[in-house]
Amino acid sequence: MGDSGSERERLMHGYEFYVDPSRCIGCQSCLNACEECETHRGQSMINFDFIDRKGTTASAAFVCWHCDEPTCAMVCPADAIKKGDDGVVQSSLKPRCIGCSNCVLACPFGIPKIFPEREQMMKCDMCYDRTSIGKRPMCATVCPSQALAYVRPEQIAWRPEKPSNVFYFGKQRITTKVYVMVPANTESISLDVLDHIWEEAYAVLPEA
């Protein structure tokens, strides 16, 4: 495969993106910083969740995970989503996107946002205009707790949590460019979405 790994590193100037939801304090600075970008002013591309609004103040902010095999790109019927040589999955190309929201439905992490009034999908592209020249994305720049961090791998090594970029959705294995900080002895995050679909509890199943 040659030197594609180091080529990717070179194109990203040696930085990697690390997400640690446990550090999120819910200040929503990332949301406000992301909104300032001209290309989508007023619309934040951060996926911000209150984990259990009723029970806790915990929150989590997520950016696009920039998967190695991006499902959104693979299901796009208009060939509008492209992945660059540096591994960053770009937002949908304006001339091509038809607003079908296939990617919105397909993404296992639920990242792409559909804007029906524009017939366009928009998602985080890791502030490509900044990261391509070595600057940090807006969200990572303003996050006070560095729940969203854009640093060199050696700068994250001191944390007790370790970075992982492997996710399991049922039997499907997904590797991403963005790392999530997981407890030291965890290899990967496993999500069985079926366990968490609320309809399961209320569905009338046929007699087995």
Partner: protein, 80 residues
């Protein structure tokens, strides 16, 4: 779908561009051969038809060879 070898990709592009330029030249020569043969036929000179057809065929085979070369470069760039 791991990443490709970028230096090979760049070299592959240059090779492709060169092959394409060559094919364009060959097709231009073929256009001229066709027009010359047609002119000859219309003027009643039947001796131009055979050499023009032979050379046109040779040029076409060269184009096919160059196209398969381009396809090979393209496939090799995808090798993982």
């Amino acid at each position: 779908m791991a990443d490709r070898d970028f230096s090979k990709q760049r070299k592959g592009l240059v090779a492709m561009d060169g092959a394409m330029a060559l094919i364009v030249l060959l097709v231009i020569v073929q256009i001229w051969l066709l027009s010359a043969a047609l002119e000859g036929l219309l003027a009643g000179h039947t001796e131009t038809a055979l050499p023009a057809a032979i050379f046109s065929g040779l040029l076409f085979l060269c184009c096919v060879a160059l196209t398969s070369f381009v396809g090979r470069v393209d496939r090799e760039s995808r090798e993982e």
